[in-house]
Structures are given as C-alpha cells and as structure tokens.
Amino acid sequence: MEKLLFYFFAGILLFAATMVITVRNPVRAALFLVLAFFTSAAIWLMLEAEFLAISLVLVYVGAVLVLFLFVVMMLDIDTSALKEGFTRYLPLGLLVAVLIVLELIAVLGAANFGLDQVPVPEGSDESNTKTLGRLLYTVYVYPFEIASVILTVAIVAAITLTLRPNKRKTQDPAEQVKVRSKDRVRLVKMASEKRQDGKGKP
C-alpha cells in the first residue's frame, strides 16, 4: 500500500517537474511548480517528516509561489522570442546539465547514499516538530541565528535598493487623523435672494 502511494506521488512529481520546464506558458509552468511542491510534500509526509512537509506547503506553496505568480502574471512574455535562442544557448545549457548530473552522482551515488550509508531512522514516539525545534535551538543554535541574520540583511538590502523616498506620493495617516472639519469646510452665511418683481416668496 505504502509503495503504491509512493509510486503514485513520485509519478505525479516527475510529470509536474517535466511540465514546469517544457510548458510554454509561464503561468502554467508556475502552477505545475505548485503541483510539484505539493506532491513532494506528500512524499515527505510518507517519510513521517510532517513538519518539513507542512512547512514546505506553508512557505513555498502558500507564500513564495503566490508572489511568483503575481510577478509572472504581470509580465507580457512574447513566446516567439523564447524559442529564438534555443540553438545558440544549447551548448552552454548542455554543459551546465552535464555538470549538475556529475555533481548529483558524486553526492547521491550508491557509494554514499545507499541504505547501508544512511539507515532508515528508527521510529520515535516524540513528534517530529518537537525534536526539530529542540535541535535547532540547542545544538544548531549558532548556525540557525547566523542564517536568520543573513536573511534579515538580505531583506534590508532589498528594501533599500527599491525604496526611493521623496519620489512617491504617500499619505501620512497622522496628518489625516489630525484634520478637523473647520480646516476643510467653510460655512458661509448669506442673505436669501429676492425676487425681481418683489412679489411673493423668492
């Protein structure tokens, strides 16, 4: 049963991943990426890594790819321009592909990634989330803190690069709240108009 489920999810994952790089329409490619992330989360769930699986859905599917779609949808991509450079970039692409395959074989080859190298972890009664949290905040606390500082620096850098103060039209809410009606509206008392012939009501 478990094997059946694994091959089911793995099949969908491979299909989705292939579609991401072959589909012409960038919005569809992004949506296939969503499917790929979701199925890999399902495979992680089967490995009992529920925290990683759920945070993959939460962070990548729920936030990162929404923003990704946001950008991709606004682009007006000319599909014929995409096809043009195919032969020109082919050698470079092949070189990169070969390099990646070699690297993957070096890391994931049977010599260092077999079942005898990385044994199946024993089942534990403690929840995955708790164990992960404890390890992150005790054994790996310095790497964890350093990583978060680096990410904060990256956010600050990105904002300073894009933010141009004094060039944007903005509202100051404090000023808006301070406004009273007498600053904006002036009531003027006027005598009512008289009729030209002086008879009856105006």
């Binding site: 936030a63 929404v66 509202q171 809410p173």
Partner: protein, 350 residues
Amino acid sequence: MLDLLTQHLLPNIGKILLIVAILMLAVAYLTLAERKVIGYIQMRIGPNRVGPRGLLQPIADGLKLLLKEIILPTRSNLYLFVLAPVLAIGPALAAWAVIPFDAGMVLADINAGLLYVLAITSMGVYGIVIAGWASNSRYAFLGAMRSAAQVVSYEIAMGFALVGVLIAAGSLNLSEIVMAQQGGIFYWYWLPLLPLFVVYFVSGVAETNRAPFDIAEGESEIVAGFHVEYSGMAFAIFFLAEYADMILISILAATLFMGGWLSPFEGIPVLESMFAWVPGLVWLLLKTSMFLFIYLWIRATFPRYRYDQVMRLGWKVFIPVTLVWLVIISTMQVFDIGPWFNNIVEVTSP
C-alpha cells in the same frame, strides 16, 4: 485489503461526508442569517417570502444558481477557468479534517494540526488568483492581484498570532490546545493573549476577503473583482468557499482563544453543575456562532478600506503588535510568571 476498507476507509469516508453535508447546510443558512442580520441592523426585515419567515430562501437561491447557465468567456484560459473554483473550495473543506468538535471528536487527530490548518488555508488564494488570471478580464485581474497581495500580507500576522497560541499551550495539536485552556473563562487564551486574539480575528476577516477588507471584490471600483466572469454554479462554488472559510475562521477562533468545547461556567460553583449536561459540541457551536455574528456585524457597520490602508494595517500595525506580544508571552512562559503560564516547558538538551 478488505479489512482496511471496512475498518478505516468506509468509516472515515462516512465522517467526511457527514462533516461536508453539515458544513454545506451551515453555509446555506449562514447566507440567510447574513441577509436577516444585516436587514435588521439596517431597519429592514430581510428575505421573508420563501417558506415560513423566509427559511427556504437559501434552498431557492441554490436551485436558481444550479439551473443557471455557466458562461465560459471565449478568450479565457478554459482549463484554468474551470479549475479555479475547485481550487477555492478544496482547501476550504480540507482544513476541517483537524478541527476537534468535542473531546475525541475529531477526524484526524494529528500532532501538527495548527500548522496543517495554516498551510491548507494558505492554499485558498490560488483559486482567486487563477480565477482572476484565467478570466482574461481587466477587472478580474485587478481583483486577483489585490487579493494575492492582501492574503500574503495578513497570513504573516495570522501566523504570528498562532505562534503565540502554541507557545502558551506548548502544543500544535488542536485538542491539546483546548485542554491547555481548562480552568474557566478567564483561563481561555482570549485574556492572556488579547492582542493576538484581536489580530487573529481581524486577519481572519481579511484572509476571507470579507468586508471591510473585500477589496478583491470591490464592486464600487472593479465591478465584482475576481469572479466578474463567473456565473451559475461556478460562481456559487466561490461563494460556498468564502462562507466555509468564514465558518472555519470562526470555529478556529473559538477553539484557539475561547476554550473550544469547554463550558464557560467551569469553576463557578452552582452554574457549573447546572449546565454540566450540555454537550461540549453545543458550547463550541455557540462560540462559533458568536464569531459569525461579529463577521456580519462588522460588514453592516464599516465602510470598505482603501487599498493602501489595508496594507498599512497589515504590515505596520499587526505584525509589530504580534512580534512584541510574542516576546512578552515567551518571557512569561519561560520565567513562569502570572496565573496563566504555569505549565513549565521543559528545556532539555539531547
């Protein structure tokens, strides 16, 4: 194999069908309640023609939408256009799997329940974004863009509010979070986590795209936002998803901050035994209805926010508030301060 089928699959499918059927009925009558409540708030009677006191109105509405033609725009992206309502309703229903209705009355009692809810509800935005894009209409597209930005912003504040709950309860399991609030109405998390409670509920209103945060629809500016091009049952499914999400946010607020199925009279001498016969489910539903009423009340009271105001509230007010309160409750939890945080979290190195 047959054993698996009869022992696990069939009972669970039965439970799922029961939850979905009750939820759909609740959604139908929530629409009637909305029209009635807003009607009375505005000194009108509301629908009162179909059935006794208008009680059959939602059935009539549903039938009408079922029989209407679904119009498919010619220049639209057809697959995605049809897929979008499905993507909207799927997460809205899937999140109900981990909601505990009473002690032990839960479909899937998983350890990371809170995270699961957060992850699944964050998927709901795809329905709206894809609907807006696939319609190939300017108004729908604007609605989708607004919705994407809004939901992603408020999800952060909402997530932080939930982190506060899990620090206080020391668990991600929703049943355990309810049990951690035992001891009476002043032990429920609405009091010790008051700022987070307010942030959570207001972000919930924003997440479900309800007034005053319904800028994704914004009928005065962009006609009807992301669902301009939808008609008939396809439109009704967006509607169902929105209302199912409203009920979900309300029941989560009741579970996380209002003690879930616990009786409000716990710890009060006479009243506790007087109301001991009331099942926990009734308390939970009463609390949920209260939040749903607040939803409708807010809609009848406040005008729609401007887009920049929505963004400012999310990023510059809610996120700082939750961050500060997280530091406060972490301190209270670690140093064991106050009447609430007496369950010491054991910190042991492996």
